[in-house]
């Protein structure tokens, strides 16, 4: 049985460690914050200039000066600090964020990722995605394994890239892959419950190895 969106988020949360500074993309990655184990201290960065992003405000307590990178109203924590956009991306580009968890349209066995534009469709812009995949220490992609019957985990991305050779891990509804950016390619390390190796092989365009320690 493939993982649900919530289960994919829960799996991604296992990549967090105590003391981590984390940037979460929109969509499934946002759900990851619900699965941070109690007692673990993790600070969320919002690239619009905030470290220590708190939960949504109670109704009536929204503050127009306090939003996250998805332009949603959020709250402050005791650990919060604010900074400007140049300083925020200096933090990202300088490799100070431990992990970014983000969605993708396509991922490839060489670590490429595409998540910002579809030629022929109106382009909205890449926002901070190119900076995040280029700068953060560990990049985890969370996405459905397939869309319209096509594997989203490919030999090479066919959409214009967001980053080249930047992804460290891919979590789909079918399993978890690690990626060796130094040329070692994709390795399947985990399968969702009741998903077989044959299942995932048949649904994956990318080449991948299978870990000796493959878990289910």
């Amino acid at each position: 049985m493939p993982w649900t969106r919530e289960q994919m988020a829960a799996r991604a949360a296992k990549e967090l460690k105590d003391g981590f500074y984390v940037n979460l993309g929109i969509g499934i990655p946002t759900l990851v914050s619900n699965y941070i184990p109690p007692g673990m201290s993790v600070q969320l960065q919002s690239e619009n200039g905030m470290l220590g992003t708190g939960p949504f405000p109670f109704e009536g307590e929204e503050d127009s000066d306090l939003i996250n990178a998805g332009k949603q109203t959020v709250t402050e924590l005791p650990t919060t600090s604010y900074f400007n956009s140049a300083d925020s991306f200096a933090m990202i580009r300088g490799g100070h964020i431990d992990i970014a968890i983000l969605g993708a349209m396509q991922g490839a066995e060489n670590g490429d990722i595409a998540n910002w534009m579809i030629p022929g469709k109106l382009v909205k812009g890449m926002g901070g995605a190119m900076d995040l995949v280029g700068g953060v220490k560990k990049v985890v992609v969370v996405m459905e394994h397939s869309a319209k019957g096509e594997s989203k985990l490919m030999r090479r991305c066919r959409l214009p890239l967001t980053g080249a050779g930047v992804v460290d891990m891919v979590i789909t509804d079918l399993g978890v892959f690690t990626l060796d950016k130094a040329g070692g390619g994709l390795t399947l390390i985990e399968l969702a419950p009741d998903v077989t190796l044959d299942d995932i092989k048949s649904k994956t365009e990318a080449n991948f190895k299978v870990a000796n320690t493959l878990k289910q």
């Binding site: 201290s41 949504f56 109670f58 939003i67 959020v74 924590l77 812009g125 926002g127």
Partner: protein, 245 residues
């Protein structure tokens, strides 16, 4: 040396001309200089190139200048929220230059800091790097990006003194401080105008040297783009751990 102007219109008097490059602070609709944007609309200058992370929404923020067809080109990282934008772009009436958000922020910071170009990993191997110099340092390849300077920067701050020293509130800071440094002239609208010495000098974010004109906007318009809330009865378990979905 008086930097304080009576209203947004007079604060921009003599500074506007067709075809100029304007930087506008803000992220989404947060921390945008909307009174100054309205004054630019009223002045009617055209063919503007506007450097701003976003393009506002219909009728709000920079959407105001799109509605009035005063913008020729946007330099932005994300413009997804604006129907007028889409229509003008599809009709070929509007140019857009997309920059990765961090590259945009750093280009602005570089412009203000006298740095004509710098190298960044961002965008290497993507179409953003096409036509740009690529260079390897210590085995990693980087893209060269240029600093940007604007003819005019318009910014929004929470509080300022008559010397032009500014402080910002929470995430309304965003692009405002780097843009303050990168305008040949910078005009700031502030929600609270105080006298020099009223702001602790250790807390000042933008020193007055960067602000040529300042205007108190008691009627600052502050929008919320995505009103997300949680119910009071729900246990606040996620507090301390981040955004709760």
């Amino acid at each position: 040396m008086n930097k304080v102007y009576a209203d947004a219109r007079s604060a921009l008097a003599g500074l506007l001309k067709d075809g100029m490059i304007i930087m506008a602070g803000g992220f989404g609709l947060c921390g945008i200089p909307e009174q100054l944007i309205l004054a630019i609309r009223d002045a009617g200058v055209k063919n503007l190139t506007v450097v701003s992370n976003n393009a506002g929404v219909d009728g709000k923020g920079l959407g105001i200048l799109l509605d009035s067809r005063q913008v020729k080109k946007m330099i932005s990282s994300y413009v997804g929220e604006n129907k007028t934008f889409v229509n003008q772009f599809l009709a070929g009436e509007l140019e857009i230059e997309f920059n990765p958000q961090g590259t945009l922020a750093e280009r602005i910071r570089a412009g203000g800091a006298g740095i004509p170009a710098f190298f960044t990993k961002t965008g290497f191997g993507t179409q953003i790097a096409e036509g740009k110099d690529v260079r390897e340092f210590d085995g990693v390849r980087y893209v060269m990006e240029r600093g940007i300077v604007a003819d005019l920067s318009i910014i929004h701050a929470y509080m300022g003194d008559s010397e032009g020293n500014l402080v910002y509130r929470k995430t309304a800071r965003n692009f405002n401080p780097p843009m303050a440094t990168a305008g040949k002239v910078t005009v700031a609208e502030v929600e609270h105008l105080v006298k020099p010495g009223d702001i602790n000098p250790d807390h000042i974010i933008t020193p007055g040297i960067y602000v040529q004109r300042i205007v108190h906007v008691s009627n600052a318009i502050k929008h919320i783009e995505q009103r997300t809330v949680r119910k009071r009865e729900k246990s606040p378990a996620a507090i301390g751990t981040g955004v709760q979905a």
